[in-house]
Assembly symmetry: C2
Homo-oligomer: 371 residues x 2
């Protein structure tokens, strides 16, 4: 990973990812189509209009992006773009990798072999003790610990690895640490590790931001250890994302009589590797860390030449919309069933997305946004 | 399974299995060679002498066996022989199945689908509660619970299944219930289940009798659930025997901070199925119980015609002894390496065994007895 963006390019990237209806997947599709963030920004209004937006989505202005950059510098927060040397390699490999991460702390931490430890906020004393010990022992074994700065297990995992290296992926912006009582912990993490966010500096995290953030925790790591997790808990979302991202999933066994262990015990039933000591994790991950890392180039299924593929006609647009519904379908299927050139299908999808009418899921699946 | 022994045959079986140096494997080998227990009894002194015994092994007299039979009747204990209709089918399939089991209670219990629950004697309150609940729920699902009448988990498993059906396999004789404070529990089990022993009525269990007994617990069951087990505990011996017998092994997860869960968590690491509720067990065992049971006929690798295979010569006996040592070797290897007929090799092994010089292990392995 090598090329650094120019200041202007970085500003354009920030504008593009901060614009309405542009998520990481749309961002990647736009860059894929237009080559440059600047050209994508210029095309946004027209694309959204063609996608059927009643009002054009809000585009982040240059002035707004500059203000965010200045505020970030003041808060000692750096923006690292996907593809730049400091961007964590494993995170770059997930298909909804954030185009820009806002990071504070020792960036070298992001280049170390990393394992995530997550778990219940209302953890038991035993769970907290175990999390802290496991994090310390894995840290001593040379691993960086990623977690989510939450109460309970997350905080214990960070505390146990403060001196060896830890990364907190947070759901809000750097100026809106949640929970507030962990501000000092975040400060301590930044001293010898990294606090990482994909959100604007002042963004206050909402409920839906946490599952979104969880993909970063698993994305940063080669494996995720879950300690105490109830059924339907956020930690299980992280475990699911880890599986989707091809990461190892570990679970710490617990008493069947403790509801805080229901989720972890179910992970065991589903094949997660049991963990009772650090060696269980290091033994499983060593061969993975020894494998040479290579960046999957985010190659799309149907590579096309960058540049404007031309405007799809009404008839083509209607044909694709007719094939779409609330149930996610594969882009490949849309191409096949519509009989249209891939570039046209992708452009229509971009238009719909920018009009707020399309949702992208993992695995090349798309659906119409429920209204 | 169908043929009942005559009273005389049963007496001969009891004499043979109660004679010195005759364990279940020797018993089966002798019956295989001589067809009848009576003929085997007659051959014992000569076999032991040829095997190098300084003094002939003590043979159980007819009078002794009759006294044991009478005492058993007085204690409401019945002897069931391997191959008789009441003998549990699964137990008959293990290669060191006891030729005779002494049973007290409702014999029909032994014909029911059975699962074993075993675990720590010094179990936690949570472990005991869970064991009792699991046994009750598995009982309600139609399964008989086998266990070992020990303190802690075993007793809880029996208690939870008292009304639905439970089998206690004990290490001592029926008149020597261990631990003594479980005499009332044994009584209650016999009311609606079975207490089972392969030992003489007054046999006081020694330490080595417990591992030996454990093979009966797993042998009676299609699967073994281990609840709380420290490393190097008796419950893990039962689990290992279950694996050797081709039984399913289940383990209940527990906190890594509780030494009582170290053994069970390690079983999980080795691939045991995690159990947090009865459905985990019933779902895994249902297909096994639905499979038609067939008795593996204890067919030896090299079937030979019953009857005396002839006396091995000195030279042949020496050749086999020279191939033996304290390390278990396969009987097949002995046959191959000695170049002798299988019948001769087996006869020499019998002689050595009856002279107290040979030990039989699982999987057709034998070794010289350490002196």
């Amino acid at each position: 990973m090598g090329v650094r963006l120019s200041d202007n390019e970085r500003l354009d990237w920030l504008r593009l990812i901060r614009s309405q209806n542009v998520g990481p997947r749309t961002f990647h599709a736009l860059i894929h189509h237009y080559g440059q963030a600047r050209d994508a920004l210029a095309a946004l209004p027209q694309l959204a209009r063609r996608g059927g937006a009643s009002a054009p989505g809000r585009i982040c202005t240059r002035a707004e992006a500059e203000r965010e950059m200045t505020a970030a510098r003041a808060a000692a927060v750096a923006f690292v773009a996907l593809g730049e040397p400091d961007y964590p390699l494993r995170l770059a490999m997930i298909d909804d990798a954030p185009p820009l991460i806002a990071v504070r702390g020792k960036l070298a931490t992001l280049a170390q072999p990393t394992v995530a430890i997550v778990g219940a906020r209302n953890a038991s004393a035993a769970g907290i003790k175990f999390a802290e010990r496991l994090a310390r022992e894995l840290g001593e074994a040379g691993l960086v610990i990623a977690s989510g700065l939450a109460r309970g297990i997350d905080a214990a995992a960070h505390r146990g690895s403060l001196t060896t290296g830890t990364v907190a992926a947070i759901a809000g912006g750097h100026n809106s640490i949640y929970p507030p009582e962990h501000a000092a912990l975040a400060e301590a993490i930044a001293q010898n590790g990294v606090v990482l966010s994909e959100m604007p500096l002042d963004h206050e995290p909402r409920a839906r931001d946490f599952p979104r953030r969880n993909r970063l925790i698993s994305g940063l790591a080669a494996g995720v250890v879950v300690i105490e997790a109830a059924q339907r808990s956020g930690s299980l979302i992280t475990a699911r994302m880890a599986l989707e991202q091809g990461r190892e999933v570990f679970a710490v066994p617990g008493s069947p009589l403790d509801p805080r262990c229901e989720g972890t015990n179910n992970l065991l039933k589903q094949g997660a590797a049991p963990v009772t000591e650090a060696a269980d994790v290091t033994a499983a991950l060593r061969p993975i860390f020894e494998r040479p890392q290579q960046l999957s180039a985010q190659e799309p299924d149907h590579p096309i030449a960058p540049g404007d593929p031309g405007e799809p006609g009404h008839e083509e647009r209607d044909r694709i919309v007719a094939l779409l519904g609330p149930t996610p379908v594969g882009i490949d299927d849309l191409i096949r069933l519509s009989g249209l050139p891939p570039a046209i299908v992708r452009t229509v999808l971009l238009e719909l997305e920018l009009a707020g009418r399309l949702e992208r899921h993992g695995g090349g699946l798309v659906s119409l946004t429920a209204i």
